[in-house]
């Protein structure tokens, strides 16, 4: 599945004193099988963009294309099943009386049999390491547990595109690493992930491309190497180390393992 935003604008509260132009002409595509990271400062429009990918928000101007076709021609339910969105605040999507019921909600709506639903729930809970929380109320969980429950709920829908809005905020470091593993496995199945994150170190590890938003516009879009080395002040730790060293012969590594290798060679060389 290929998603494309075409010159999308979004204005909140138009015509009022608090009118906010949150997106101002964003064009980008999410290619099948890629991890596209979206980064940018507070209020730059990332969450607004995310909600356009399944038309939870409608563009004020511009359009969303799904495999080249205008998404307005699609059934909304169908679009939202194929594009799974995990919100920045997990509370926004948890509502059932138990974690199990919450995660079962979407697959049940797909009309799957109870066995198939049970299997999806089991898998999603296991994937997020929260099987032991299945019978708890989502509202009595710790912050990190709740986020994992919200992610499990969307995963159980088995979407073709996974849109994750700050999925690692509040996760402990092991859970964060495991989530990145989940993102990679998703990509290996030829599906795509849109990863919104403030943590550039994790973006460095999984992104195929990085989109930098600034005040509602795309300021940069390219491979992590292109984007981060063009502006090392806004780059992951690895790139900042390399930039501070200023040794061109060491190349332009971004990922941790590549950076370590390059630094070793530099020290031995």
């Amino acid at each position: 599945m290929r998603l494309e935003l075409e010159d999308v604008h979004h204005v909140y509260a138009p015509g009022t004193r608090f009118e906010v132009p949150a997106l101002r002409g964003v064009s980008l595509a999410v290619e099948p099988g890629e991890v596209l990271a979206v980064v940018g400062g507070t209020g730059s429009g990332k969450s607004t963009l995310a909600q356009h990918l399944n038309l939870l928000l409608k563009p004020t101007r511009g359009r969303l294309l799904v495999d080249g076709e205008d998404a307005r021609g699609m059934k909304l339910g169908e679009l939202r099943r194929r594009v799974g969105l995990v919100f920045q605040f997990p509370e926004a999507q948890l509502f059932e009386s138990s974690v199990r019921r919450d995660v079962a909600f979407a697959p049940r709506r797909l009309g799957l049999g109870e066995d198939a639903v049970g299997e999806r729930v089991r898998q999603a809970l296991a994937e997020l390491e929260i099987s032991h929380l299945a019978d708890r109320s989502p509202f009595s969980l710790s912050g990190g547990e709740r986020r994992r429950a919200a992610i499990a709920g969307v995963l159980a829908m088995d979407p073709e595109v996974l849109v994750l809005d700050e999925p690692t905020a509040g996760l402990d470091p092991f859970a964060r690493a495991e989530l990145l593993g989940l993102v990679r496995r998703f990509r290996e199945r030829g599906r795509s992930v849109v990863l919104i994150s403030h943590d550039l170190d994790e973006v460095a590890e999984v992104a195929d491309r990085v989109c930098v938003l600034e005040r509602g516009r795309v300021r940069a879009l390219g491979t992590p190497e292109e984007v981060f080395y063009a502006n090392p002040a806004l780059a992951p730790a690895t790139v900042r180390v390399m930039a501070a060293l200023g040794r061109a012969e060491a190349g332009r590594p971004v990922r941790f393992a590549d950076t370590l290798q390059a630094l070793k060679e530099l020290l031995e060389g």
């Binding site: 909140y12 509260a13 608090f18 906010v20 980064v39 940018g40 400062g41 507070t42 209020g43 969450s47 920045q88 605040f89 509370e91 009595s140 969980l141 710790s142 912050g143 990190g144 547990e145 994992r148 700050e166 905020a169 509040g170 996760l171 402990d172 470091p173 092991f174 859970a175 964060r176 690493a177 403030h198 550039l200 170190d201 806004l234 992951p236 730790a237 690895t238 900042r240 180390v241 930039a243 501070a244 060293l245 040794r247 941790f256 950076t259 370590l260 630094l263 070793k264 530099l266 020290l267």
Partner: protein
């Protein structure tokens, strides 16, 4: 700034000016209906002016500790004292002195307008309207949200909400600040700003900083690690790098700069620039 109340100091939890500001002794708490305690026989002491980092896996009891400290929850057994007061008995005395920035800014912003939210903590302090307005303005400016006074909190972005919540506690500047993942929704630049603002309070205020980002508390006086409701370690931040086993047991990973430094056999480096200097020092090009 907490006004001087007429209360005598009690027990060892001495009042402001005294040494011990926060004291937990054998504190245990279980949520209703839960079979396992969320906080289990916890002993903790924080002195005035200290900066203490708190780490620990998801569900280890960090936020529960914050709720016990401000009297939102009452310990099942053991004793909690903040500036000499039991938070469960005298929550208002405690809340004038200890402010908590809760983990989820979404649940914390309740007022119709941003400015009311930021002013909320001041209202119980008997501050004049004029001073209140000034403090709200200054706090919003400190978090980069000047001009947001009349915005409705529910229309803010995630990071904006977190900044408003932070402004609320900065406007009060209580004696003790308990910050529960204060930067989880901020970008790198915003995080740096907030951390600088927190470190500007150093010595003047007592800070308990809960986080999953180890690099945020490398300057702390002390780091506590909670796991399963128990305090499992208490150490200086530099010692963390020498405790791979402890890190693993508590689902902690060193930040990339420290991991690179360790893998290259270099010493403790806090920033990419420091690491680059250490590498350059190893070699003459």
């Amino acid at each position: 700034m907490a006004p001087e109340g007429g209360r005598p100091a009690r027990g060892e939890g001495a009042r402001s000016g005294g040494l011990l500001l926060v004291c937990c002794e054998g504190v245990t708490y279980s949520y209703p209906g839960s079979s396992r305690p969320a906080i289990d026989r916890l002993d903790l002491r924080v002195s005035a002016g200290e900066y203490v980092g708190v780490l620990g896996p998801n569900g280890s009891g960090k936020s529960t500790l914050a709720r016990l400290l401000n009297g939102l929850l009452r310990a099942d057994s053991g004793r909690v004292l903040v500036a000499g007061y039991d938070p469960a008995e005298e929550p208002w005395e405690v809340r004038r002195r200890l402010g908590v920035l809760f983990q989820n800014p979404d649940n914390q912003l309740l007022a119709p307008f941003v400015e009311d939210d930021v002013a909320f903590g001041l209202e119980n302090l008997g501050v004049s309207r004029e001073e209140m307005r000034g403090r709200v303005r200054a706090a919003l400016e400190a978090v980069g949200l000047s001009g947001f006074e009349r915005r409705e909190p529910h229309t803010l972005s995630g990071g904006e909400k977190q900044r408003v919540a932070l402004a609320g506690i900065l406007a009060v500047e209580p004696e003790v600040l308990v910050l529960d993942e204060p930067t989880s929704m901020l970008d790198a630049a915003g995080r740096r700003e907030v951390l600088e603002r927190i470190s500007a309070l150093r010595g003047e205020r007592t800070v308990v900083h809960i986080t999953h980002h180890l690099d945020e508390i490398l300057d702390a006086d002390r780091v506590l690690i909670l796991n399963g409701g128990r305090l499992v370690a208490e150490l200086a931040p530099e010692e963390l790098v020498r405790e791979p086993e402890l890190l693993r047991e508590n689902r902690l990973v060193l930040p990339p700069v420290l991991r690179l430094a360790a893998a290259l056999g270099l010493g403790f480096c806090r920033t990419p620039e420091e690491l680059a200097r250490a590498i350059a020092g190893q070699r003459v090009w």
